[in-house]
Amino acid sequence: MSRFLYFLIFTNMMAIITTPIPRILLVQSADGAIGSMIIGTLAGVLFTYITVKFFAQFPGMDLIDLLQTYTSSWVRIPITIYFTIFWFIAGLITLVMTVFLLITFLTPEMSIYIITLSILITVFFGVLLKSKSVLFTLEIVFILMIPVGLLMFFKLYSAPEVEWDQARLAIMHINQVPKYGSIVATIFVFLGCSNLIIFNRYFKEKQKVSLLSLGAITLFGVVMLVTSYFIPIGLSGFDRIGQLIFPWTSSADAVRMKFGLIERVVFIFMFIFVTIAFVSIIIHWHISYKLILSIFRLKALQVKQQNFTPFLVVTVFLLIGLWITALLTQYELYQYTRYYYYTIPLFIAVFFLTMMAIKRGASK
């Protein structure tokens, strides 16, 4: 497998810290979260395997090409629109959550518009990059984050502040029936490989899915899930963990570096996760933007050689982002996100049906 594919999958896994997923899991910690995580992990790995296997059959072609070549337009257009919306919301959730995180912990007195705008300006340029440049951006961010990430993991797992009895107490609640909400939230962690629908264009060589690579993906996903689930419990206690709105950040605030650069390690963590969130938003919106452009291009915006539709599309993205961020309350964010995750099985069904349609078209 290409290293970029790993980056795509791992970024999606790391970005869960800046989505409501940890809270969705932790709220149900006494109510079957662990069972749900196990089921979700198995389903997610299976999804990864099938998806990567499928796109390996069509090296160098993205979903837009495949749909245009092998299916008729009444299949193509609704599917493209659905995926556009799905990916756009995925990015939107990360955006809103990141803004809420910043406004709660970093700059409580600052205007929400200024915070959102300062994120969106960077995202604007990120989304408009070429797909290949997005992958390179991803790689650079990933490599820059590795040392900080390693420090974070070392710090978290060696911290005397983490009370492992609390984590054990959470494991003792394994005998509960898994819940739908937590299962789908866990599956989302493993959806990173579906970004192939655009980026497969740049994987020109045939991808091989070995057992080892699948194992690496599973391991990384499990480590991220365990970190985002058990570390907050170990730091903030099992019984009242559901009360925390940002369980991960509030808990990471409990870890300190006595002789390090700064005492509150939480700022280093936030640096990592806000950066990862940036990249995650850029990836999701980039895909969304590519998809919508494949079916929609305004002739009126053609000025000489340059067509300005991409700028229009991304500006619309930004405006919706800004509007939604200002509009949503914390409760609504969590509630609507939950509904969004509820539709993941539908997404997977559509995804697989599309794959089947393409395969049938290809075999003809």
Binding site: T107, R168, D239
Partner: protein, 372 residues
């Protein structure tokens, strides 16, 4: 204009606009901020109010050389809630109050009985307050403790910090409790939280930290004696130090312990009384004795000190059990070692008063000091 130049132009304009936003943290420079180093909460003196909130602000100094004494400003206001009092206090300073450096939360003894939830709410809800700030019980009042200024306190230093962050004094008498830890233990069913008690003398020149208080919302607070505090800290944090008194078999020792490890297991076999098996491993040396000691008898000394130490620990457990508090977290151990059912908690509530403690002591004395 070609599109390349267009891009460069747009980017430059954007960068120039962006520079205007780099005007300090959230548009407020450090010279416009007043750093709060400690918050104290007392019961109100006037009728009608609930809390008397004291803020300790650090006064900026030009350089460490030019300033000889430490200067702080104390602001006091009484109000119905902590947040309201702090909002009022903000109007007494021309600078914006910055709580990101706050490290001390001093609570008055009278506020600690009953449910602490409404009191603690503000400190956890406010995201920019650190969760690694030190919570302590202040005696006689939080205001006095924040006001106290020991003569050894140098400029730019806060002596209250040094007690707790283990970079200054490291005494087994000092319990260190962070805000997140306090909240976690207070909320966990099957564990109680412990706070250090900081006492200021009348002249405001000295602070003493020797006792601890154990809190749980359902029971009366219980104050540990200095000896109990020392044992508690030793067992929970592994904090060593001087001063473990042993009197056994005709010997009188003082021990120094380097490190102490405790493991708890709860056995609830059918037909037997519930039993807590506590394994303690302690490594140390003898620092004072009333007799000449023989090096070859070290094993014997280890044995007799182990016996006595184990006895002291057991007495502490029984004492806490009688008061129905559980700072060691036996309940948490119980809950985290068996599959959860809906009766687990009720079972534990029935078990704890009858629990028997089986202390297995492994004392290893490595030396008798510099003389026999």
């Amino acid at each position: 204009m070609s599109s390349k130049w267009m891009k460069v132009a747009v980017l430059s304009i954007l960068l120039i606009i962006l520079t205007s936003s780099i005007s300090g943290c959230a548009y407020k420079g450090v010279d416009k901020r007043a750093f709060v180093v400690g918050i104290g909460v007392d019961p109100a003196k006037e009728n009608g109010n609930k809390f008397r909130v004291t803020l300790k602000l650090a006064k900026p100094i030009a350089s460490l050389k030019s300033s000889t004494a430490n200067e702080y400003e104390l602001l006091v206001h009484e109000s119905d809630s902590v947040a309201e009092a702090i909002r009022f206090l903000e109007t007494r300073e021309d600078k914006v109050m910055d709580f990101s450096q706050t490290k001390i939360l001093a609570l008055n003894e009278d506020l600690l009985s009953g449910d602490l939830f409404p009191l603690m709410d503000y400190f956890v809800r406010r995201g920019d307050l650190q969760l690694v700030l030190y919570v302590l019980m202040a005696k006689p009042t939080a205001e006095d403790v924040l006001k106290a200024q020991p003569p050894l306190e140098a400029a730019g230093e806060n002596s209250l910090y040094n007690y707790f962050d283990k970079t200054g004094t490291e005494s087994p008498f000092v319990t260190t409790t962070f805000l997140f830890e306090f909240r976690r233990d207070y909320d966990t069913k099957g564990k109680s939280s412990a706070l250090p008690i900081v006492e200021a003398n009348e002249a405001g020149t000295q602070l003493t930290v020797t006792n601890s208080i154990v809190l749980k919302n359902t029971v009366e607070p219980y104050v540990l004696t200095p000896t109990e505090t020392k044992l508690f800290n030793t067992l929970v944090d592994g904090a060593g130090g001087y001063g473990y008194k042993i009197e056994n078999a005709g010997y009188k020792f003082m021990l120094t312990l380097d490190h102490v490890k405790m493991k708890i297991k709860i056995h609830t076999n059918d037909g037997q009384k519930p039993r807590a098996e506590v394994k303690i491993k302690a490594v140390g040396a003898i620092s004072e004795s009333d007799k000449l000691l023989k090096l070859k008898d070290l094993d014997h000394y280890s044995k007799i000190s182990g016996e006595q130490f184990g006895e002291q620990v057991k007495n502490l457990f029984v004492d806490l059990q009688e008061k129905n508090v559980d700072p060691f977290g036996f309940g948490l151990k119980y809950r985290s070692s068996r599959l959860n059912t809906k009766d687990t908690l009720d079972n534990w509530k029935a078990i704890y008063p009858e629990l028997e403690f089986d202390v297995k002591m492994d004392m290893q004395l490595k030396s008798v000091g510099a003389i026999e």
